[in-house]
């Protein structure tokens, strides 16, 4: 899952850059060369990427909570196994992305610390609750669908480890998206109560999903440098439009109505026009006042604190083993 990665501004001072080195770097990026962990790179590039990849990793991990919310209540054994496997995949993406971010010099522990202290963000979409089983369908179909729109271009990101991570993540996400859509098909072909469940889930999630692409281009702070560095290939609005164009016919196929009276196909541009997004809501949720922000952070902190003794035990045991191994040759003498 992707996040409005570049919405928070980095206010920390950046070390003075070397213009010659910077232009050598830019030339490599322009030539579509991949930047690798030991290569020279501007400090701002390193920071931007670290923040983006870490935020992406955090989103995968926090995203396990709203979906995990339904593992124990999935309506059939097949769905239960599929959801369990899906949430497990998200955990795998998180681990994989933390490893990619670590190549830029920040440890997973530091990144986790930043998440728990609230210094780092995760995708705001996970601050919305999963209230019915249909939400699990919607999260797969729309949230993962939006994530794929965002992530496909990231497979060509200038930073090698991130780009490679994205190739693998995208494959799994597109499987999740199909799975989610299949849940929606089952609901929409089901009883009137199931269809209603599907419609209500779409009503709740549609606008927040559109917000996943981040603020409109005119208000986006980081787009320009991120585009120049080929971290980003398309603007927020371009990706949002692509998503709407791809998704609306899928929703109509399901027989669902989008909660946007302004949604209309423009025969001249061949795009779906959509109504005004409530950016005040977006800002409010990013700032911490979404329906589940406090709950998610509480859950994340609780699992960290409640299980601290497990990590301590694992470290203590590893130390004992090292000491015993070190003592062995002496004992043998």
């Amino acid at each position: 899952m992707y996040t409005q990665a570049l919405n928070t501004q980095d206010s920390a001072p950046v070390a003075k850059s070397d213009p010659q080195a910077d232009s050598r770097f830019q030339a490599r990026v322009d030539a579509e060369e991949k930047i690798e962990p030991n290569d020279a790179m501007p400090e701002a590039y390193r920071r931007t990427l670290t923040r983006q990849i870490a935020q992406h990793a955090h989103s995968e991990i926090v995203g396990m909570l709203p979906e995990g919310n339904w593992i124990t209540r999935a309506p059939s054994l097949k769905r239960k196994a599929a959801l369990l496997a899906k949430v497990q995949d998200e955990g795998g993406h998180g681990a994989y992305l933390y490893a990619a971010a670590e190549t830029l010099g920040t440890s997973r522990e530091q990144m986790e610390e930043q998440l728990l202290s609230g210094a780092a963000k995760y995708s705001s979409i996970f601050n919305y609750p999963t209230l019915t089983w249909a939400d699990i369908g919607i999260v797969g179909w729309l949230v993962d669908g939006a994530a794929i729109m965002n992530q496909i271009p990231l497979c060509r990101c200038s930073y090698g480890p991130y780009a490679r991570a994205m190739v693998r993540v995208c494959k799994e996400e597109s499987f999740h998206q199909r799975q989610g859509y299949e849940i929606m098909i089952a609901l929409c072909k089901g009883t009137p109560a199931q269809k209603q469940m599907a419609q209500e889930a779409l009503n709740r999630w549609w606008w927040p999903v559109l917000m996943m692409f981040g603020p409109p281009d005119k208000d986006s702070l980081h787009t320009e440098s991120a585009m120049r560095w080929k971290i980003k290939r398309f603007t927020n609005d371009e990706l949002r439009q692509k998503f709407v164009d791809a998704t609306v016919p899928q929703g109509h196929f399901l027989g669902l109505t989008f909660p946007d009276p302004a949604l209309k196909f423009d025969t001249t541009t061949q795009h779906w026009n959509y109504g005004e997004i409530d950016w005040a809501e977006f800002k409010r949720v990013v700032a911490g006042d979404g329906p589940c922000n406090r709950q998610r952070m509480k859950q994340m902190r609780a699992k960290h604190t409640d299980n601290a003794w497990v990590r301590e035990a694992a470290n203590a045991y590893a130390n004992k083993r090292r000491q015993r191994a070190a003592a062995m040759p002496i004992a043998a003498e």
Partner: protein
């Protein structure tokens, strides 16, 4: 009870796998480290997979058109036939790992033996499960050792879990009339024949973990005839919620 012994036996295996798989799935997203979320996911999927194969077979044996979901979602607690050990709450990470160790140390040799069953379907399901249970045993044994021989706190927690779960360990080795005929026919496995293997595995792990093997006091039993602890009803109320709230719907 008019079910045939083979049906009852298959349901016992299926219910045990499902209930433990469900318990492990409760951890996903809440584990001490991401790697354990992944491990719980793996183990949960193994067990739910075993349950699905066993339920499908049970449905065939029964011949009344009940599929895996009808059997898992539409039977109430007294009809469930799992052993009591697996329905015990997750508790802390130590309790979950000890429960897994106690079960896997039994299930691994059990499925190894069942893979030679004269019932070809059970043999095939067991042959797959034995590989999975080898991993469950290794993983839970490693963690039990790490926690037992870790810090004072982790040692105490692990010992306490072991003491608490110990009364549920004898049920696994019991046989009743249902199974006796199947054992004689070479279909089911006599669990008592695996007791020595289980003891040996446990003693080895507990000694490495610096944990004390609890004394065999009164042992709890009854899951396999539908006499459960209070916990199972709560598991089923979650597991079966949608099927019960929307009867007849297809998901």
């Amino acid at each position: 009870m008019t079910d045939t012994p083979l049906l009852q036996y298959t349901l016992r295996l299926a219910d045990t796998a499902l209930v433990l798989g469900h318990r492990l799935s409760e951890w996903v997203g809440h584990s001490p480290v991401i790697e354990e979320d992944l491990a719980f996911g793996n183990m949960g999927l193994d067990l739910i997979g075993q349950a699905r194969s066993l339920y499908s077979y049970a449905g065939e044996i029964e011949g009344k058109g009940r599929d895996e979901d009808a059997l898992a979602y539409l039977r109430d607690a007294p009809e469930y036939r799992n052993i009591l050990l697996v329905e015990q709450p997750n508790g802390d990470f130590a309790a979950t790992m000890v429960r897994q160790l106690l079960y896997a140390a039994f299930a691994h040799p059990y499925f190894e033996a069942l893979a030679r069953s004269k019932d070809a379907t059970l043999a095939a399901i067991a042959a797959k499960a034995v590989k999975e249970m080898a991993y469950h045993l290794r993983h839970s044994a490693e963690w039990s050792i790490r926690l037992g021989d870790g810090t004072e706190e982790s040692h105490q927690r692990t010992q306490a879990s072991l003491d608490e779960l110990w009364p549920y360990t004898a049920e696994t080795f019991e046989t009743d009339q249902v199974e006796r005929a199947l054992i004689e026919a070479g279909v089911a496995i006599d669990p008592a024949s695996l007791r020595a293997t289980w003891d040996k595995t446990l003693d080895h792990v507990l000694s490495e973990a610096t944990l004390e093997r609890p004394h065999d006091g009164y042992m709890q039993s009854g899951g396999r005839i539908g006499h459960h602890s209070e916990h199972l009803g709560h598991i089923l109320s979650e597991l079966q919620f949608l099927q019960r709230a929307y009867p007849g719907a297809t998901w």
